[in-house]
């Protein structure tokens, strides 16, 4: 899968998993911070995102420090998925 296609798919999955009803997938910028400013996600969302990575891409993040580096924006998530996905 091309990177651009993966980014588009991931944005759709984030909107669906987190029930972001007021946000369209295409409105999420690739370098927009997921937490705090930007999308404004919180700690419960971070757990949802880790579960999403496990279910959809077979990635198991066990180390919280690793999670902090991955769950920054769409670019960092896609980069990590491309390197570590098992499905």
């Amino acid at each position: 899968m091309e990177t651009a296609e993966l980014k588009s798919q991931l944005k759709k999955q984030i909107v669906e998993f987190l029930n972001l009803t007021t946000i369209k997938p295409e409105d999420i910028k690739d370098d927009e911070p997921l937490f705090g400013e930007g999308l404004g996600l919180d700690s419960i969302d971070s757990i949802e995102l880790i579960v999403l990575l496990g279910r959809e891409y077979g990635i198991d993040i066990k180390d919280p420090k690793e999670g902090r580096k991955v769950l920054v924006d769409i670019n960092t998530m896609v980069d990590y998925i491309e390197k570590n996905r098992t499905k």
């Binding site: 029930n19 404004g40 757990i47 949802e48 880790i50 579960v51 279910r55």
Partner: protein
């Protein structure tokens, strides 16, 4: 008992904000689904995680507890809480082979999510509890408030009830014969003499306290019990009315929880037979459908009638005219599945 100052209700009818009950909203697919308002008082980040039961419960309650200092506690009755989220959570356990599960569905599915979330949103650190007693959940919540008010004379409490239709629960109840097997409508709910009713859902909330000033009405008494005998219901009603009304006198209105299930008729007939023949009989389940805490909708509708002194025509079950004298007392009888029964007497 206690006085009721404010009420709020999210139901299948136009009950939220400024209620307009004269037109009966029709059911679809043997279900009466709640009409959800725009939840302007709930932050979007919290709202997106809420299941329907939590949304309608909090949405109905927030207008009553806008003044954070006024409410000393939050007491909610719900038989099932967020059943839809509960089933999603359980299905995930199977779907993902007992792997990683998301917390949201679990958190939202617990019955106390509604009272708990309300307490968090309003920074209300007072008494906060949820009663889950099937068809008597709301009645147990009312009894709890009554005991709290006996101990805390100047306090005010939010009390109410919530239940939602979930796909799973509807299916189970339908298979159990509690919802009609044929296509039915609430517009002619009482004309079809078959087993079962139509499904409903809603949230009704009340602000309660001991002071008469500023009240809509008073919940004079409540009595609830379990039996499958219509004779026991009749006997209990005779005692209940004798306790509150002069001999031979009936309340101004009898609000019946009949739901179109022919198996329940004997209980309601036991009640009408104990009241004066000219007592007007009203029904409310054609408005809200059948669910374990439907009596809370009945109590809300009774408060509306006492407040406005107007009765929607579709509620009248008998030809007895409602005279021009003010409506000052309403008696509500409800049964859930013919074994849980409750009486409520509301007076102006």
């Amino acid at each position: 008992m206690f006085y009721i100052y404010k009420t709020s209700c999210i139901s299948p009818q136009s009950s939220y904000g400024s209620p307009a009950l004269s037109e009966l909203v029709a059911s679809a697919g043997n279900k009466l689904m709640a009409q959800e308002p725009v939840y302007s008082g709930i932050p979007p980040g919290i709202l997106r995680r809420m299941g329907k039961a939590v949304r309608i419960g909090i949405g109905a309650a927030l207008p009553l507890i806008a003044d954070k200092q006024e409410t000393q506690g939050i007491i909610i009755g719900t038989a099932n809480g967020g059943m839809e989220d509960c089933i999603k959570f359980l299905n995930q356990i199977i779907e993902y082979d007992e792997g990683k599960l998301t917390p949201t569905n679990f958190v939202q599915s617990t019955p106390n999510a509604i009272a708990g979330q309300l307490g968090l949103m309003q920074s209300n650190k007072g008494y906060n509890i949820t009663h889950s007693n099937r068809g008597l959940s709301f009645e147990n919540a009312l009894m709890d408030v009554d005991m709290l008010l006996a101990e805390n004379k100047n306090a005010k409490y939010l009390v109410g009830a919530v239940d939602e239709i979930s796909a799973y629960n509807f299916r189970i109840e339908w298979l159990g014969g509690w919802y009609k097997s044929e296509d039915s409508s609430n517009l002619n709910l009482f004309e079809n003499e078959s087993d079962g009713s139509i499904a409903g859902e809603g949230a009704a909330m009340f602000l309660a306290g001991n002071e008469k000033q500023g009240s809509i009405c008073r919940l004079t008494d409540i009595h609830f019990f379990q039996t499958d005998s219509a004779g026991v219901v009749k006997e209990a009603l005779t005692k209940f009315l004798a306790k509150h009304l002069p001999s031979g006198k009936s309340p101004d209105l009898f609000m019946s929880g009949e739901n179109g299930d022919r198996r329940m008729q004997k209980y309601y007939e036991a009640c009408t037979g104990s009241l004066a023949a000219n007592t007007p009989v009203l029904s409310f389940k054609q408005m809200c459908g059948e669910y374990p805490t439907a009596s809370s909708f009945g109590a809300w509708a009774a408060c509306e009638i006492l407040r406005t002194q107007e009765i929607p025509m579709h509620m009248l079950r008998t030809s007895s005219s409602t005279s021009n004298t003010p409506i000052s007392s309403i008696f509500i009888y409800n049964t859930y599945k013919g074994n849980q029964h409750s009486f409520m007497l509301l007076e102006k």
